[in-house]
């Protein structure tokens, strides 16, 4: 009887702990950052991207993204999950970019290293680090949306805690480096998945909205399966649909090298 009571007590306690709202903006954004960009030690996803402009003309891209984290752990304690990352982006479609590869060594400190492989010329081109707020392959997503904006670039403030979300406001420390004046995110309380991000200009008008539209659990990881970026200024909209998602495949580090730019690692891309 005592055991049962004790068990119930512990269970209810743990539920209480789980249900208790966080109040530290720092803790929330670290968890959200982990959920968005660092789950598992590596991952793969196939992405179908549909860009529709204000005149309803649409373009499609199909690509496969491989990611590998330098950090050996997913632990949130001491932000141990954070570290440099490597990305390998292989383009399937449209025809003019087929078999091209874009590779990034993302550094937390300093500029990223980036390469582009052009198969028709067998050319491994080094590309200069760019403004992270440049459109990613002509879509309404920016490089920074795909690989993550540095948390240190903004100050973070918990605006409100609703029954579903932590509503956060993020204000850039260097206002001249970006096109927005602040952005708000809605972070799902139970999973810490950012469900929406809205970018505003200095008069408070919406510039761009990124929303998560579909989620699934893959190998225990809460995984985005569909997201949308809308540019409210141009009326253009991009939908990304993720499939063939897999985590922790023991992706070898040398996949992210010149060798595999020239010779695509097919077994990891399929």
């Amino acid at each position: 009887m005592f055991k049962v009571l004790m068990f119930l007590f512990v269970v209810s306690l743990s539920f209480t702990v789980q249900a208790a709202d966080l109040t530290s903006a720092e803790e929330i954004i670290q968890r959200a950052n982990y959920m968005s960009y660092y789950q598992g030690k590596d991952g793969r996803a196939q992405v179908i991207m549909t860009i529709t402009d204000s005149q309803s003309r649409s373009r499609t891209r199909k690509l496969t993204i491989l990611r590998r984290d330098e950090s050996e752990t997913d632990a949130l304690e001491g932000n141990a999950y954070r570290g440099d990352q490597k990305f390998y982006v292989y383009f399937h479609r449209p025809a003019d970019v087929s078999k091209m590869v874009f590779m990034v060594w993302k550094h937390l400190k300093g500029d990223d290293d980036r390469w582009l492989y052009l198969p028709a010329l067998d050319l491994v081109k080094r590309i200069a680090a760019s403004d992270q707020r440049t459109s990613f392959v002509g879509s309404d997503f920016l490089y920074e949306d795909v690989s993550g904006r540095l948390l240190e670039d903004d100050t973070h403030e918990l605006l409100e805690t609703t029954d579903k979300y932590y509503k956060m406001r993020h204000t850039p420390k260097d206002a001249t480096s970006v096109e927005f004046s602040y952005f708000d995110t809605f972070i799902h309380k139970q999973t810490f998945l950012p469900v929406q991000a809205v970018y505003f200009n200095d008069s408070g008008a919406k510039l761009r909205t990124i929303s998560v539209n579909g989620v699934a659990t893959v190998q225990g990881y809460t995984t985005v399966t569909k997201s949308t970026a809308e540019n409210h200024q141009t009326g253009s909209k991009t939908v990304m649909e993720y499939s063939k998602v897999i985590y922790d495949t023991d992706l070898p580090e040398d996949i992210f090298s010149e060798r595999y730019l020239r010779k695509a690692p097919k077994k990891y891309l399929r």
Partner: protein, 449 residues
């Protein structure tokens, strides 16, 4: 009344708050542990080991300067490229071939070496990795290495200069090589060894489509009298080529050493008796480095060209030995705007011997040829339009070559393109100056699939 107002305010407020809170995305439940485990698989009816693609293209171009040695049209062709690859467990095969109708070609019979005729084979190779750290690629393939941007020092793989100067797609600057390539990877150094069992020359400027300077007549020549007759060193295993590269990426900085044993890739000599153009023996040693610097990418490359058949520079019919050096920098100047700059120099060795051997009245080349290049690439219209300007300028030769180009991706399949090749120079005998009558403009329409 007051009560109603209050209620109205509350309703409005709650609506505002409702409008601001996004709905939970499909699949995300309040209790994450209730979300069922799924594997996201797509219906794959197509065999993933098989790939098929290509494009259809129509390209026309005309000369902007009168040249009595050439026709007024510079390009008039239709091309269908088909590409096929298949992966097996231990190997894969790749095939790329172009079916071409070139209205300006002198002959349509197929010559896979020169890239003439109705069909050009660009790739036909077999790839395998017999062990974890060895890659092999046998057969016809496109090969590129080195750090220069449209300037080559240690990349001695075949180029197609006709395609480049006439305004075909930049991919055609690279002509295919028939080679055996072995790559060995290790933590210390990576090695690429390439063996061409027979000599693969450039698809060089032979006067048929581009007029050039002929020292013998001290004039710019082209069709029909200036068409080059060459002594092609075509015997298997004897007229072979070996290319070697040792390379490593040292925390983001790519360093490499190179070696080449073969021949000048375009004619750089003349047979004494027949006057035919020849491809004298050439050995090259070089090195390069490339890495991030000041928010951009810097590169440096050097090479020593040993023109073996004219070791002391006394033979006026064969190009002298030389050293070549290149330094470049590229960075993003603004969002979607990239700027690249290069300085390149060719230093002729044994210059005194060259001057002494030169027949009287012949135009002497400078001991040092300096070349500056700039590349400007600007993407607009959601990166669907690319404006590009590449310029070569030589302060020593006082000549220049400018390549403006614009391309627009109409949709996922169609691309339209227009551009020009502009040559100018003070003298008719300098590298770009000799092409000054070849200034042309072109346009193309491509359907990719």
């Amino acid at each position: 009344m007051y009560r109603y107002l209050l209620i109205a305010v509350l309703i409005v407020q709650s609506h505002v708050s409702l409008a601001q809170d996004p709905l939970l995305p499909e699949g995300l439940l309040d209790d994450p542990f209730a979300t069922p485990e799924t594997t996201i698989e797509q219906d794959e009816t197509i065999d993933p080991t098989l790939s098929f693609g290509g494009f259809w293209e129509s390209r026309i171009g005309g000369r902007l300067v009168d040249d009595n040695n050439q026709r007024s049209a510079s390009l008039s062709e239709i091309r269908l490229q088909l590409e096929f690859s298949k992966d097996f467990d231990l190997a894969s095969i790749n095939l790329v071939g172009d079916f071409i109708y070139d209205h300006l070609a002198d002959q349509h019979s197929i010559d896979l070496e020169k890239g003439q005729g109705y069909f050009d084979l660009r790739e036909a190779n077999f790839e395998a990795s017999p062990t974890d750290n060895v890659d092999l690629k046998f057969g016809r393939q496109i090969l590129t290495w080195g750090t220069g941007d449209l300037v080559f020092i240690n990349d001695l793989f075949s180029k197609d200069w006709h395609s480049f100067f006439l305004g075909r797609d930049e991919e055609y600057l690279k002509a295919p090589s028939d080679a055996l390539k072995a790559s060995l990877y290790s933590n210390v150094v990576n090695v690429d060894l390439i063996y061409n069992p027979h000599f693969d020359a450039d698809r060089f400027l032979d006067g048929r489509r581009i007029s050039y300077y002929a020292p013998a007549s001290d004039s710019i020549v082209g069709r029909p009298t200036g068409i080059i007759t060459e002594d092609y060193p075509g015997s298997w295993l004897k007229d072979d080529e070996i290319s070697l590269r040792l390379h490593q990426n040292v925390s983001g900085y790519e360093v490499a050493g190179y070696g080449y044993h073969g021949r000048w890739k375009s004619p750089q000599g003349q047979a004494a008796v027949t006057g035919n153009s020849t491809f004298p023996a050439l050995n090259v040693l070089g090195a390069s480095a490339r890495g991030p610097l000041g928010g951009g990418i810097a590169n440096m490359e050097a090479g020593y060209y040993n023109s073996q058949d004219d070791g002391d520079g006394t033979n006026s019919l064969i190009r002298n030995s030389e050293t070549r050096f290149l330094v470049g920098f590229e960075r993003e100047a603004a969002r979607d705007l990239t700027l690249g700059l290069q300085w390149y120099v060719e230093h002729m060795l044994d210059y005194g011997a060259y001057e002494n051997a030169l027949s009287s009245g012949a135009k002497a080349k400078d001991e040092n040829r300096h070349l500056l290049t700039s590349r400007l690439t600007w993407l607009t219209h959601s990166q669907n339009t690319e404006w590009s300007l590449f310029a070569f300028y030589s302060p020593t030769d006082q000549d220049l070559y400018i390549r403006p180009r614009v391309s627009y991706k109409i949709d996922d399949f169609w691309t339209a393109e227009a551009g020009s090749n502009i040559f100018a120079g003070k003298d008719k005998h300098t590298f770009f100056g000799q092409f000054r009558d070849n200034t042309n403009a072109y346009m193309a329409l491509r359907y990719g699939f």
